[in-house]
């Protein structure tokens, strides 16, 4: 088995044994309660409410896991010194880092897929049927997973050179800033100096564009999501993660462990 997969497998096992997936119980309870309450509504908006609520919960729960577990992936290993014995094996530091990343993304995939299935069950309970058009919800769930993957990469990178608390703050801050990239690009430029214009233009392309992943409105209303956006978001996530993880690997490869 590849060394990256060995680390990934163990990271997944760690998440399972540390009861990270217990959040699914909370999500299930939320979906059951929502389905029962929304089921009483007869204004043709029950699907919209259900989908919006479900996708928001999947996103929020996923974000909490991605940020907190993502930051702890490396920093916990350094603090507890579990890394010392691992790095004495024929394993490169970047392989370890990539293994941890893959393991957490695998955990989030399982978690998000389970929550997505829960959402479909709740929709079925409310509508008594699942239509072909509902597959757009699947795309929204996929976009959430892509977003979480990028958040994990950022959290890992920050945790490679700063304290866990600062890494959480930096990741959270970058996530919030990344939600407003579109607004940053459409700022009224006439009131700015050319330098400021350039600065904001560059910044808007450097920041991770988390707004791209938000298709909750389209999913709730059953509007189709263009295939080109799916391809764009997939490639964007892959490229951005590759850059962020490369930076993380360079920093981590030169880091003195305590």
């Amino acid at each position: 088995m590849s060394r990256i997969l060995i680390v990934a497998r163990n990271t997944f096992r760690e998440a399972v044994r540390d009861r990270v997936l217990y959040n699914l119980v909370f999500f299930a309870l939320l979906m059951i309660a929502s389905a029962v309450i929304v089921g009483q509504i007869s204004m043709d908006i029950e699907t919209i409410v259900m989908v919006s609520l479900g996708l928001s919960a999947i996103s929020l729960i996923g974000l909490l896991i991605a940020v907190f577990t993502g930051v702890g992936l490396v920093s916990k290993e350094i603090d507890k010194r579990t890394l010392h014995a691992v790095l004495a094996k024929p394993l490169r530091r970047w392989e370890f880092l990539l293994g941890k990343f893959t393991g957490l993304v695998l955990t989030l995939t399982v978690n998000t897929a389970a929550m997505g299935a829960g959402l479909f069950l709740a929709m079925w309970y409310v509508k008594h049927s699942i239509a072909r058009g509902d597959t757009v919800v699947l795309v929204a769930v996929y976009f959430i997973l892509l977003k979480l993957t990028l958040v994990v990469a950022l959290a890992m990178m920050f945790s490679c050179f700063t304290s866990p608390l600062l890494a959480i703050l930096f990741t959270g801050g970058l996530y919030v800033a990344g939600l407003f990239v579109a607004q940053l690009r459409s700022l009224q430029v006439t009131q700015m100096s050319s330098h400021t214009q350039k600065f904001f233009a560059i910044l808007s392309y450097l920041l991770p564009n988390f707004g791209n992943y938000d298709v909750m409105g389209a999913a709730a209303h059953g509007r189709a999501i263009p295939r080109v956006l799916m391809l764009h978001n997939t490639l964007y996530t892959a490229l951005y993660c590759a850059i962020v993880l490369s930076v993380a690997a360079i920093i981590f490869s030169r880091k003195d462990l305590k």
């Binding site: 060995i6 163990n10 760690e14 540390d18 010194r81 579990t82 010392h84 004495a88 030169r254």
Partner: protein, 319 residues
Amino acid sequence: MTAPAIETQNLTKEYPYGFLHLKRKTSLENLTMEVADGEVFGLLGPNGAGKSTTIKLLMGIIFPTAGNAQILGKPVSDVSMRRDIGYLPEQPYFYDYLTAAEVLHYFARFHGFSAAERKERVQKMLQKVGLETAGRIQLRKFSKGMLQRVGLAQAILHDPKLVILDEPMSGLDPVGRREVRDIILELKNAGKTILFSTHILPDAETLCDRVGVIAGGQLRGVGAPGSIVGVKSLGMEIVFELTGSGPQFEAIRAKAAKSGANYRMNAGEAELYAVLAELREGGAKIISVTQIKPTLEDFFMELVGKDRSRAAAIEVSGQ
């Protein structure tokens, strides 16, 4: 001639400290040493001397400020060389959500063993370190001594050519220490090269072919435990029995020290026979005559003492 198993040249490690990291503290200074193939080498020194820093530098856990090191003829940055190295960190920590067997399986996977071979090796190692009945218990329930045993098992699981052990006896009870000592001797007999750090001097005297003493980040001496302290005799110790009473007995008792039911007296080598004759005339029964040699502990304490007095002098002079 076989290349040394470990070789360092002017290995130096400085740590920045202070608010802006502008000040620097030297943990290890110009360490140049060699550990020969098949040798058991003990790295001795008090806490904070630089032993663990040396080992961490060798294992690539930290990076040198200056100098370089080779293990088995390859630079320490070469990951492939780690196939032939076993390492026990100081106060080892492992994933506490795993069982002892799972931890060993996890580490064994990095060496590419087949499932059957892995299973066999893990079983064998658990048995070797006395954990065969605790293999299915999560490490969070393990004592410090048990974790040390797991650490030792993972270090030798893949039958490495070189074993590096950082304070292997730490946290162990006398039985555990004896078992670890036996494992080190077993590895030595199998022709493995062993480097271990310790501040338990009798262990070093028993196990090591050579020792290196580190104090204040500097290597102060290297050699066989006997030769490093010098072969010069410090005199002779005579143990004798003295049961009679009277002025002649009292005169001898006044010169001797009581040692249990017997008496002890030190004499220079030149005056030994005269003292023995005097004792015999005084009615003493000689039990033993032993040459007094400085121990590794004496050497160690002298070095550490010098270091402390020098540190105090620097502090007083404000340098």
